[in-house]
């Protein structure tokens, strides 16, 4: 049967089992929207800005392990989507973005709402396609889904000119796809795995450091088994929180710029560092020269060969899917007569406990002002650690990461790589869509939330009962913190003047708003908000303006050169 390009596009999405498409219509995608209208398998979520569409698809994917799908029009639709695409790219989120394009004959003519979509997005996608012939459309969409989800995942964009959506051809959706130029190594090298296991079993001061790769590859169960079997300390990066239970005594807290004292010390002073699906990011290891100066062996599992020895030379690289490699390692460890050196481990743990005595996350609990950390602790208690937490970027993000203990993967959803303010609310929409009965909270600040505030309208339309936890300190807090530490208290443009009344704003959008000004009211307000299961509640917490995030490794410093709260 002959189908139009628009029909083919929708049929492909149906074949891929896509439940939700997050998007915004416009001239170049009208044919596709018309076909969406005629069916009900694929549901469309109308956002209020294309950035929101991509973040929502992203949150959907992060919380569900499915490929997120966004649909936007040509020109400004695409340029608005770019921030979302770059966000997904930096965090390796599987996503297919379908974009409308002006008709093929108009391409290059500076047509209305034309932009070079493939050119603009090329550096921030895993791959992209411009489909110039309707006969190639189905195969291209199949390729897009395949590329997005396999190997190191990432966003893939398919640009479809309007005349291609009108043209028709026979439709057949390919069952499988193979590309001679794309064959990611997925199975770890047996010899390397053996070497890694031996290093781990011989280690005296081991440290396990895991990142987003464990979450993306659904390898939490394997990781947890391995860590417990070995009895080693374990840290999860900002992208990896929840891969190993945050309440487990073997968990030492997050590493890096705002990591715990004990974790950063252990990262530097261990004799074997086992990196799993992590990429030695500058926010995690500080100055690479300082980091590398320590005398230790490094094992590194990653699906992406280019992540290995990119910033830090490693001794035992293993390229492959984390889950498969960990399975192989578990088999070897379980069948080995050798056990980890318990005497050495005991004294290593004693050292770590000594570091833990610094109590680096302590803060003033007697304050008359609302401490942001306190809000997160209460949020954790009241949700029993079982909520989906999205966040924006800045101090609130760090506090959420430090004080909310994630016991499960895919519960902590934040923009780690690109650091996109405005991510939290639209991402929470995607999370709530795929987990309609779950508690979803967006931890944000008064600066970040305003970057995609328009999505409150989308939340109303789709009855998304997200709880917005706004840590309102009237400053771009992290900018203010850097200005305090490194710019002689010159707070250049970091004060958020002329803030809206968030309670009225929430009400104007048809939601519930609450303003909380006293520490004693925090718990009650959260309880009240969570009791309103059907409503979005915007909780505006007026917090201590001068609170800073500790510990802190200043940019360019070594990982152990931390500023602690007590030192100021």
């Amino acid at each position: 049967m002959q189908l139009t390009g628009a029909e083919i596009t929708i049929r492909c999405l149906q074949e891929e089992g896509v439940e939700y498409v997050f998007g915004y219509p416009g001239g170049a995608v009208l044919n596709i929207y018309d076909e969406l209208f005629k069916q009900d398998k694929v549901k469309h979520v109308l956002v209020r800005h294309e950035q929101g569409a991509v973040h929502a698809a992203d949150g959907y994917s992060r919380s569900s392990h499915k490929v997120g799908v966004a649909l936007v029009t040509s020109g400004p639709g695409v340029t608005n989507a770019v921030t979302g695409i770059a966000t997904a790219y930096m965090d390796s989120i599987p996503m297919v973005v379908i974009t409308g394009q002006v008709p093929t004959h108009a391409i290059g003519q500076d047509a209305f709402q034309e932009c070079d979509t493939v050119g603009i997005t090329r550096p921030c996608v895993k791959h992209n396609f411009l489909v110039k012939d309707v006969h190639e459309l189905a195969t291209t969409i199949k390729k897009a889904f395949y590329l997005a989800a396999t190997g190191r995942p990432g966003p893939v964009l398919v640009d479809i000119p309007k005349d291609v959506t009108q043209a028709s051809c026979e439709f057949a959706y390919p069952k499988t796809i193979s590309l001679r130029s794309y064959n990611p190594v997925t199975k770890g090298h047996a010899g390397q795995i053996k070497k890694a296991v031996q290093l781990l079993l011989d280690a005296k001061r081991p440290m396990i450091y895991t990142g987003g790769g464990v979450i993306l590859n659904n390898a939490s169960a394997q990781l947890t088994r391995l860590v417990r079997l070995l009895g080693f300390p374990c840290t999860n990066t900002l992208m990896g929180l929840g891969a190993f239970p945050g309440t487990d005594p073997q968990f030492t807290g997050m590493p890096g710029m705002h990591g715990t004292y004990e974790t950063n010390m252990a990262m530097q002073h261990c004799d074997v560092l086992f990196a799993v699906g992590a990429r030695f990011d500058d926010r995690v290891i500080g100055d690479p020269k300082h980091f590398y100066r320590a005398d230790r062996k490094i094992i590194h599992i990653d699906i992406d060969p280019s992540s290995i020895s990119k910033r830090v030379k490693v001794d035992v690289p293993i390229v492959g899917y984390v889950a498969d490699v960990l399975d192989e390692m578990l088999k070897l460890i379980e069948s080995s007569p050798q056990r980890p050196d318990s005497a050495a481990l005991k004294s290593w743990w004693a050292q770590i406990k000594e570091w833990q005595r610094k109590d680096c996350l302590k803060y003033d609990r007697a304050s008359k002002l609302i401490k942001p950390q306190f809000v997160i602790e209460k949020l954790y208690e009241l949700t029993k650690g079982d909520a989906f937490i999205t966040s924006d970027v800045g101090q609130h993000q760090m506090w959420a990461a430090q004080y909310y203990k994630f016991d499960k993967p895919r519960r902590w959803i934040n923009s780690g790589g690109l650091g996109t303010m405005g991510f939290g609310l639209p991402a929470a929409m995607g999370v709530q869509m795929v987990n309609p009965d779950a508690t979803v909270a967006c931890v944000t600040g008064e600066a970040s939330i305003q970057m995609c505030i328009q999505e409150l309208s989308t939340c109303k339309q789709y009855h998304l009962p997200i709880k917005i936890v706004n840590l309102n300190n009237r400053y771009m807090g992290m900018v203010r913190q850097w200005q305090e530490f490194f710019y002689g208290n010159r707070y250049a443009e970091s004060y958020m003047d002329a803030l809206p009344d968030f309670v009225k704003l929430a009400e104007a959008y048809g939601h519930v708003g609450m303003k909380i000004e006293k520490p004693g009211d925090v718990e009650g307000a959260l309880r009240e908000a969570f009791a309103q299961k059907e409503r979005l509640v915007f909780l505006d917490f007026i917090t201590d303006q001068t609170e800073n995030v500790f510990p802190m490794v200043p940019g360019g410093k070594g990982l152990t050169e931390m500023i602690l709260a007590e030192e100021l």
């Binding site: 090329r122 590329l147 992406d304 060969p305 280019s306 020895s309 030379k313």
Partner: protein
């Protein structure tokens, strides 16, 4: 160190900009780049001459391999290889210099492709340094125009790059 990377890449629109974009985005050098389809028209072969430490070259190779359209990458300088570049050079050749220019072209095994009463257009092939040597051998004032292809390379003996 100077490296010659040979890359087999899908002959698709945009593949070249993906590769050149990778070099500029990550701050790698391109000394020269040549590309043309192979005997299999669905595939192009690219030769990129670049400079970098071993670590940088390793990253370049990995990043190139990561591009979906790149089929294979080989660093020719890791083994024995042959390298050739083609240059067309238009020189002033009048009066008593005319014979001298012809002799010099002969010494470098150049071929004169086009002649006017005032100029020669000479074709030269060889390694980059041979072409450089020719340009330094002739008087700078007589060079009217030069165009060079950049290096192409192939492995020696049984070393073969194909799918």
């Amino acid at each position: 160190m100077r490296h010659i990377l040979s890359i087999l890449v899908e002959n698709e629109a945009g593949a070249l900009s993906r590769i050149s974009g990778l070099f500029s985005a990550r701050g790698y050098n391109i000394e020269s780049l040549t590309v043309a389809p192979t005997e299999d028209a669905t595939m192009s072969r690219m030769t990129i001459v670049t400079v970098g430490s071993d670590d940088v070259i390793e990253q370049i190779t990995k990043q190139l391999n990561k591009l979906v359209e790149v089929v294979k990458v080989v660093d020719l300088t890791e083994g024995n290889h042959i390298e050739r570049e083609l240059m067309l050079v238009k020189v002033r050749a009048a009066g008593k210099d005319r014979d001298e220019m012809k002799r010099l072209a002969d010494i470098f095994r150049g071929r004169i492709l086009d002649v006017t009463d005032k100029s020669y257009t000479i074709e030269l092939t060889g390694t980059g340094s041979k072409l450089d040597a020719f340009l330094t051998a002739i008087e700078p004032g007589v060079i009217l125009e030069t165009v060079r292809t950049g290096a192409s390379g192939i492995g020696r003996g049984e070393r073969i790059l194909r799918v």
